[in-house]
């Protein structure tokens, strides 16, 4: 025990000594830091380069040099003009040298990519694909060019037990997703997620598309044909499916796929699942599910599913002459406490 304590004290003393010795040396070392205002630029654009130093010189001199293009300005902030510089997957280099009185020179390098002309720096930061719904009547194929293709699929017609869930799925679909035709006016097809719903006929007017009309005119045969293009056994539904290519034209199972199986989701929570699906489909890598969000949603669904059977359990308890669930919990806690 004493040996361990002594070793600990020695280690602490050594650490303290190292700190005292290295501290002043680190403070004395001069630093030169440089950075561009953005790492990627389009051909012909310019980028602002900045340099900082902690050298205690009244007027330090910064000497800039670049691999391509030219430098405009003097001092620690200059513009790098990239007019006439071609795009390249290899970054272009710039260098700054600090010349200060009675000091060794310091160098700092930085790199900037010149991207293709159509490069959009904000493309990766936007909210993702916007979902728009459309009906898919017989004989009509999915329009080409959309960023993503999604489907609300029912494997079989509803029965008394599943009707409420089907209705909730269609209602959420109609309520949460705007018309694809209206979104087409404002957004590029590549930025859209076309959510299709197969139907046996088109309605006389778009305003007549209601939950009841949709379920009445749903094309279950086409839905089965679309489901057959998916891997696994999907028999009942509702299913929400997303792929990069239209399912109706897919010769083989899609490489990237997102499937939400709503077959066991209580009707009250269907809207939550549709919302989660739309969020997931909006991601660039839509096939990679957010594990935390999926787990939380599954837990919430489990709570709801367990709660469905609770009144029956309580009734059964009463019929057997047993105390109800709250009394049972209290009894259990008491028993654990007495047992201790």
């Amino acid at each position: 025990m004493r040996v361990v304590l002594a070793a600990r004290c020695l280690a602490r003393l050594l650490a303290l000594a190292a700190l005292l010795l290295t501290g002043p040396v680190a403070a004395a070392a001069a630093t030169l830091v440089c950075t561009p205002d953005r790492p990627v630029v389009r051909p012909g654009e310019s980028v602002v380069l900045r340099a900082w130093t902690d050298v205690p010189d009244v007027r330090p001199r910064f000497q800039w040099s670049v691999e391509a293009g030219r430098v405009d300005g003097i001092g620690n902030e200059v513009s790098w003009l990239l007019a006439g510089v071609r795009q390249s997957p290899i970054p272009y280099r710039a260098e700054v040298r600090l010349l200060a009185a009675n000091r060794p020179t310091l160098d700092c390098q930085l790199r900037v990519f010149v991207a293709p002309p159509g490069y959009d720096p904000l493309a990766g930061m936007r909210g993702g694909r916007e979902a728009g719904r459309a009906l898919l009547p017989p004989g009509q194929k999915e329009a080409e060019g959309y960023g993503l293709y999604s489907y609300l699929l029912f494997g079989v017609p509803p029965n008394a037990a599943t009707l409420e869930r089907y209705e909730a799925a269609v209602a959420a679909h109609l309520r949460m997703i705007p018309h694809l035709a209206t979104l087409d006016r404002y957004l590029e097809p590549k930025a859209l997620n076309a959510v299709y719903l197969p139907v046996v006929t088109l309605p006389p007017e778009s305003s007549t598309v209601t939950t009841a009309w949709t379920l009445e005119h749903y094309d279950y045969a086409r839905a089965r044909a679309l489901i057959s293009a998916l891997p696994g056994t999907l028999r009942s539904g509702p299913y929400l499916v997303s792929t990069l290519q239209p399912l109706g034209r897919a010769a083989s199972p899609p490489q990237h796929l997102l499937i939400q199986d709503l077959a066991s989701v209580p009707p009250d929570l269907v809207e939550l699942w549709v919302r989660e699906f739309l969020n997931q489909a909006a991601q660039e890598q839509f096939w990679r599910q957010d594990t935390a969000a999926a787990l939380a949603l599954r837990m919430r669904t489990t709570i709801a599913r367990l709660a469905i059977g609770l009144p029956e359990i309580n009734t059964a308890f009463e019929r057997l002459g047993m105390p109800d669930i709250p009394t049972t919990i209290a009894g259990l806690i008491n028993w654990r406490t007495v047992d201790r």
Binding site: L272, M299, R300, I303, A304, A307, L332, I333, R336, R340
Partner: protein, 62 residues
């Protein structure tokens, strides 16, 4: 007893509030949350006691 009840209540409240943001919970769902939290807390207490006994046995070399 009091500590167990308080732990169950606190855990149930946290879970209930967390899921309230998803969708408001019905009375039955609230009962399920309390039940699940009770089971968790009681199981935790039991496991803690068992681990403590095990540790004491290992410590005394028995």
């Amino acid at each position: 007893m009091r500590l167990t009840l308080l732990t169950i209540a606190a855990l149930s409240l946290v879970v209930w509030l967390f899921y309230y943001g998803y969708a408001p919970l019905s009375t039955e769902e609230t009962v399920v949350v309390v039940l699940a939290c009770s089971v968790l807390v009681l199981a935790g207490r039991w496991a803690g006691r068992w681990l403590r006994r095990l540790w004491q046995r290992v410590r005394h070399g028995r």
